[in-house]
């Protein structure tokens, strides 16, 4: 399974699924990270974590541990 964390900085990809049924996946989905949406990996913070992605016209930061739950498909 390819997850968001494995994507190189700057690449674009599409969300296939958000795995897990917990508060974090729910929050991610509420923020628009739902299957089918495309995004771009913007950067990682000074210590390599968290990550910043751009989707639906805005920037969202998340930790690597959370990004690991997001299954993606490169464009």
């Amino acid at each position: 399974m390819q997850t968001l964390t494995k994507l190189p900085i700057g690449s674009r990809a599409k969300v296939i699924a958000v795995h897990g049924n917990n508060a974090i996946t729910k929050r991610l989905m509420e923020m628009g990270v739902v299957p089918g949406v495309t995004f771009r990996v913007v950067k990682s913070a000074p210590f390599g974590d968290p990550l910043e992605i751009k989707l639906r016209g805005y920037s969202l930061a998340m930790r690597i541990s959370e990004a690991d739950a997001i299954e993606v498909e490169s464009e």
Partner: protein, 686 residues
């Protein structure tokens, strides 16, 4: 099913009627929207300055309310906390939901909800709108940031948007006020109508009353399905109503972030910004502070010379003017600090700071979001502790609350400044670094280091929990709105002044009375004078004996054995006891203590000189640079603020946590002060 839901609605409308009557039949409108959607700007525009800040009953979440005169109707406008979703995970969302469903007892269920929607971020902003529609609330969309959208050639077709959502959509421009009339008309129209749009994206089974929707949301899997369904609908709306542009392109914010959240420079800039903030608080604020100080000084003199001699005059000059003035002097510094915090918040930088620091904060066991409450705590722990409500995990939130008061708040500044002015001014390290600035920085660092250690321990013991989620928007950079920033600054400063006018005024009067009574008669004084050698050591004999025999003096003597190892005499003890009400009271107390009964015809020396010249009972100096340093260390760590204690009690809803906090902080303060003094003495500084 249908009957049941009708019934529950009837009950609700009866309750709502009762509430509306108590609110004089005014319309109630709530403003809801994502953070950074432009809600505050719209709120300020609609209400002008007819607004007030209060707390929700039972919780210290700030609530803003205002009066909106819309086409002859008086509307009670309620600003909800900024939120992304109505599924209550954080306290903010919980409160917003309770207001929208009419479950907060002193606010009627809103007649109309104005959803503030950022046109440049339409999809995510519409998510909340779909939920509002599901709650069967009468919604009007106010579309903001249209000017920004148009600059990016992102055109929004309001007609299609409105038709697909089934609710009115109005473009508003904050700067020009365009669209406000239309918004008024749409709100009044919606208030009168009973039509509610259907949430077409939900499957038939969950259409219905809000209770049913709520029930179905308790199951995570089906909740996720619903989120998916909402976004599915939103994508459809988006595709039809917006001219397509590449929404993933590199915008100007990203270019700015190229530097501001750069792997290396980002952290350097963050440190630089903090340094500039603190440096300017100390250098820019000094002139107005000196002016205020002189002003209160002459006011006290004036009171003494123009009022008849007696208890009342003493109370006004030595108690009220000296006490309250001693605190109000710090207003310029506090205004500046709040100004900077408002600007950092409004530009969007605060979220970047959390992004930069999350990894470090997590090392301690805290959330990157804890950075904002902790930074606010440098102004005052109260807004800081209130800001922790954005942290979703209760244990993380509690850990943040427990360490927030270690951040040196503005109330400690008076204490630091006094100590430095009296003992460390005009001294330089390496010839150019002001010793005072270095010491203040050291005090801030001490608080931070201690906070880190305590958080580390708490998060590994009693507050152990899995690492909290960090899913956070980085809002676009914006030039802060001058009016919003100023308003923000003055609201917060108003709270400080109010405290000076109430708590500190009361304590000043109380302390003055404790030091003034019981009166020692002139006869007694001469008797005592001839019999005690110690009295001769006092700067002004009458004063010394009066204070010693007063209630305050007796209290000070009572705790003297405990504070003696810290190098404090009983007079400092009196000030210490008083400062447990509020830290800055130390300054006013010292002015009262060292001026009690001062001969009105003499020039009373300024507080700084009084502190320098103060003598212990044995005739030795009451203060040395080491005593001053010890006192500062004590003030960094001790929990000396009634208002904070009250807020912690309300926010944690637990007396044990509150008592734990006061206890461990003060214990730590005592130990650290003891260590400072004893080691300093051993090394020969004392």
């Amino acid at each position: 099913m249908a009957i049941a839901s009708v019934k529950s609605k009837d009950i609700r409308s009866v309750k709502a009627d009762v509430r509306v009557k108590t609110a004089k039949n005014d319309l109630t409108v709530a403003l809801a929207g994502n953070p950074n959607a432009g809600k505050t700007t719209l709120f300020n525009q609609l209400t002008g300055l007819r607004q007030k800040v209060a707390n929700y009953p039972g919780v210290t979440v700030e609530r803003k309310e205002g009066t909106w005169n819309a086409a002859g109707e008086v509307i009670r406008l309620i600003d909800l906390p900024g939120l992304y979703s109505l599924d209550a995970t954080s306290l903010d969302e919980q409160i917003a939901r309770d207001i929208l469903t009419g479950n907060i007892y002193d606010i009627p269920k809103p007649d109309v909800v104005v959803a503030v929607v950022d046109a440049t971020n339409l999809e995510r902003n519409l998510y909340l709108v779909t939920q509002l529609i599901e709650f069967r609330l009468p919604v009007v969309v106010a579309l903001t940031m249209v000017d920004v959208a148009e600059k990016r050639s992102l055109g929004v077709n309001v007609k299609i948007l409105s038709r697909m959502l089934g609710i009115p959509v109005v473009k508003v421009t904050a700067a020009s006020g365009a669209g406000i009339d239309e918004l008024e008309a749409a709100v009044l129209r919606t208030a009168r109508s009973t039509d509610r749009p259907k949430a077409s994206w939900l499957s038939e089974t969950i259409q219905g009353s809000e209770e049913e929707i709520h029930l179905s949301l308790t199951d995570d899997a089906s909740a996720n399905k619903q989120i998916f369904a909402r976004y599915g609908f939103i994508s459809e709306v988006y595709q039809r109503s917006v001219t397509p542009i590449d929404t993933l392109e590199r915008g100007y914010s990203e270019k700015i972030d190229g530097i501001l959240t750069h792997k290396f420079f980002g952290l350097l800039i963050l440190i630089g910004i903090l340094l500039i903030v603190f440096q300017s608080i100390f250098s820019w604020a000094s002139l107005p502070m000196d002016l205020l100080d002189a002003g209160f000084g002459s006011l006290a003199e004036l009171a003494k010379s123009s009022l008849p001699e007696g208890i009342l005059t003493d109370l006004i000059a030595d108690g009220i003017i000296a006490g309250v003035g001693g605190v109000l002097v710090f207003l310029p510094q506090i205004l500046l600090l709040f100004l900077f915090l408002s600007i950092l918040e409004d530009t969007g930088y605060m979220a970047r700071a959390a992004f930069l620091l999350d990894r470090l904060m997590r090392g301690v066991g805290l959330h990157g979001k804890a950075f904002v409450p902790l930074l606010s705590s440098f102004a005052c722990a109260i807004p800081g502790i209130m800001a922790t409500r954005t942290i979703e995990n209760p244990k993380d939130r509690l850990a943040t609350i427990m360490i927030a008061p270690f951040m040196s708040c503005s109330a400690r500044l008076p204490v630091y400044t006094l100590m430095i002015a009296a003992f460390f001014s005009g001294q330089y390290i390496f010839g150019f670094l002001s010793l005072g600035a270095v010491l203040i920085l050291a005090m801030y660092m001490l608080g931070i280091v201690m906070a880190v250690i305590v958080a580390f321990i708490l998060k590994r013991t009693i507050l152990k929990s899995p690492p909290p989620p960090f899913v956070m928007e980085l809002p676009p950079y914006r030039v802060p709105n001058f009016k919003t920033v100023l308003l923000n600054m003055f609201t917060r400063a108003g709270i400080f002044i109010k405290r000076a006018g109430t708590v500190i005024l009361a304590i000043s009067i109380l302390l003055w009375a404790l030091a003034y009574f019981p009166r020692t008669s002139a006869e007694d004084i001469s008797n005592i004078q001839s019999s005690t050698a110690a009295a001769a050591a006092e700067g002004s004999p009458d004063e010394g004996i009066q204070l010693r025999n007063s209630f305050a003096g007796q209290l000070g003597h009572l705790i003297e054995p405990v504070i003696e190892p810290l190098g404090f005499d009983w007079k400092i003890g009196v000030a210490l006891i008083a400062s447990f009400a509020a830290r800055e009271v130390l300054v006013s107390t010292l002015s009262i203590i060292y001026n009690t009964g001062a001969d009105s015809t003499e020039e009373s020396p300024s507080l700084i000189n009084a502190v320098r010249d103060a003598k212990k009972d044995d005739g030795s100096k009451a203060w040395t640079p080491l005593t001053a340093l010890t006192l500062m260390v004590f003030f960094v760590l001790a929990m000396q603020c009634m208002s904070t204690v009250a807020v912690v009690r309300r926010e944690t809803n637990s007396w044990s946590w509150t008592i734990f906090m006061v206890g461990y902080m003060t214990g730590l303060a005592y130990l650290a002060a003891l260590l400072t003094y004893q080691v300093g003495k051993y090394l020969g500084f004392g």
